[in-house]
């Protein structure tokens, strides 16, 4: 086990930059998710870390050793593939044993038939058998060891792929969207199992996903990638509460954050011609944006935003309602308590307020504007 460091890793595909200088330090035993929309370069980055693809420039260090130019087989990493990539002709036990056989047995000992006659082959085979058994027991697939991958369900195959990764002790585990082929229920279950596995093994995990829920629930830190860059790498709650970039704020969180146009005029924030009680120590600017999470908005009798309820999603424990506000193109989503259901109905006219401290301000370039609000600021009524 060891940490992993990326230094200015760049990748071009035929002149098109896919990764634009990625630097990331991953501590020993950390669970880091690379999350982003498809095409953001997250899988390419994982494959470069694995050594399956070569970076155009930059360095990768595993445990302070530069592995640039070292082939994948020699990097001591394990990978779980999206398609699982199990060897279809081998049984589950044989599949899990492959990484150990390839690394611990000589080419002669691996030969069919006569391999077993080579000195030391039997002892090694027995050791490998034990390692396979304990990996299978960890993942509760001991009953499946004699089956072929074709006879397994998607969830079982996924476990076998995990088993093949964890049967030896690699420097880090690389997981490339391992849950994307599972159905929703199984995904939730496997999600927590992988998180538990990480806690138990204490190993370094790098997990690629496009699903922000997976990233939020499992990771120690999330690296949000977009357009070949890491926009922000921080623990889940920071990425959610304190995003650095408007794209991070928009990508993380479901339902999506509300983005409203704001102006700064005379040191105050103006939202739809209303002066908000927020100090803006900025020059006058008209193209600022404000992000408001659905839970930051609440029903208010002295509203900042008012409009018509156009859609409601009742999840039982909470209600997400969409409010069409005159002058705004997208409806504003807010979270309401089930006790407020009486006040909400399709077509009802309601007003919303929010605390200024909950508002996230972004500049014209999408970067976050962090403005210290006085703590005693009264709530926007």
């Amino acid at each position: 086990m060891s940490g992993l460091n990326l230094r200015e890793v760049k990748k071009d595909f035929g002149g098109t930059p896919v990764l634009k200088g990625i630097s990331l330090d991953i501590a020993d035993g950390e669970f880091v998710s690379l999350v982003g929309p498809s095409g953001c370069g997250k899988s390419t980055l994982l494959r470069i870390i694995a050594g399956l693809e070569e970076q155009s420039s930059g360095h990768i260090l595993i445990g302070d050793q530069d592995v640039s130019g070292v082939r994948a087989a020699d990097r001591n990493l394990s990978m779980v593939f999206q398609s699982y990539a199990l060897y279809p002709h081998l049984s589950v036990a044989e599949n899990i044993a492959v990484p150990l056989k390839m690394r611990q047995m000589s080419a002669w000992q691996r030969l069919p038939l006569i391999g077993g006659l080579m000195p030391g082959a039997r002892d090694k085979k027995a050791q490998i058998g034990q390692a396979v058994m304990s990996a299978a027991e960890t993942l509760e697939i001991a009953a499946l060891l004699d089956r072929k991958p074709g006879q397994l369900s998607g969830g079982q195959r996924q476990r076998v792929a995990l088993g093949r990764a964890l049967v030896r002790e690699p420097a880090a585990f690389l997981l490339d969207e391992p849950l994307s082929n599972l159905d929703a229920k199984l995904r939730v279950q496997t999600r927590s199992e992988i998180a538990q596995l990480h806690r138990r093994l204490g190993a370094t995990f790098i997990y690629v996903t496009h699903d922000q829920v997976e990233a939020m629930t499992m990771s120690d830190r999330i690296a949000v990638m977009m357009g070949g860059e890491i926009l922000q790498c921080a623990p889940p709650h920071i990425v959610y509460d304190d995003p650095d970039d408007i794209r991070v704020a928009e990508f993380i969180g479901s339902p999506k954050i509300n983005i409203l146009p704001v102006e700064s005029r005379g040191g105050a924030a103006i939202l739809m011609d209303q002066r908000l009680p927020m100090a803006l120590p900025l020059q006058d600017q008209s193209d600022l944006r404000m992000g408001l999470r659905p839970e930051a908005l609440h029903l208010s009798s002295h509203p900042v935003l008012s409009g018509t309820v156009v859609h409601m999603e009742n999840l039982g424990s909470e209600i997400f309602a969409q409010l069409q506000v005159p002058g705004l193109y997208d409806p504003v989503v807010f979270r309401a308590d089930p006790s407020e259901r009486a006040r909400l109905a399709m077509g009802a006219e309601v007003g919303l307020g929010f605390e200024p401290t909950a508002a996230l301000l972004f500049g014209a370039d999408g970067r976050r504007l962090r403005i210290q609000q006085p703590a005693s600021q009264p709530e926007v009524a």
Binding site: A50, L52, R71, M79, F81, A85, Y87, H89, L90, M102
Partner: protein
Amino acid sequence: MSSATKLQQRTAWWLTAPALFLMFVILLVPVIVAGVLSFTDYSLGNSSFEWVGAKNYDRLFSRSTYEKMFVATFTYVLTVVPISVGLGLGAALLINSLVRFRDLYKTIYFLPVMATLLAMAIAWEFMLHPSIGMVNRTLEMTCGTILEIIPFLANGCADQFPLWLGDRDYAIWVICFIGIWQGFGFNMVLYLAGLTSVHRELYHAAEMDGAKSGWERFRLVTWPALGPTTVFVVTISCIRAFQVFDTIEAFWPQGGGPNKSAYVMMFAIFEKGVQQNLIGIGSAITMLFLVFVMFLTLIQRWLVERKVHYG
């Protein structure tokens, strides 16, 4: 049983009847007739025949002509099948690893498959002519050079180069060579098709698992994935090898090679059954031929069901 079900069953039989009839008349009856005739001394044009029991089969396994037939046939099959399958696989793997000129190589290797074997045989006959043929002329050019240290060339220069088609030690091997030259392009195409179905991510998984050499990746991923293709290629190659006829008929229309060294089964059937009008013995060889092919097909079925992994 209700009348509707009965009617449906009767209709089903009526609808399958033409296919059953044709299958019976075109495929099964000739086999049965050949089987029956193989126990007679029938000749085409005779009004009657005598039952001779297993005499035809007895001859097949006792006369030296037929011993030569088996030797030639099995020499050909056991040489051509492994080499043409191996070369086909090798060529497919090499072409598959190419970035450019794939189609060019594919076309070149596939050309002999498309060519008419009879015409090709005539071209080969000219090339292998003992005195004016291209092959021996080329070999003569090595005389007096350093290459003469090779015993084969030294002997050739001192005495004479092989007669090839006229030499009983070389004839069957020339036939084998032409068979391989002509056949491996077909196997290559089948293997190329098989290679496209190998999942690319499996190679990455093999690399991550520590399979460093190309040979290890081949054993772990490529070869198992090509199992179904290999069973098919080997069976097809065997059947084609058992059926070799054109080259032998073109080179030696009378007799099947010097001292019957290239007297393969198909040629024997043609010679006995057609040229000499000995339908009985011709049928017996045909039945034996059928047994070999059936045997191969059964082995293929067994392999497909037991050993080969699909999917």
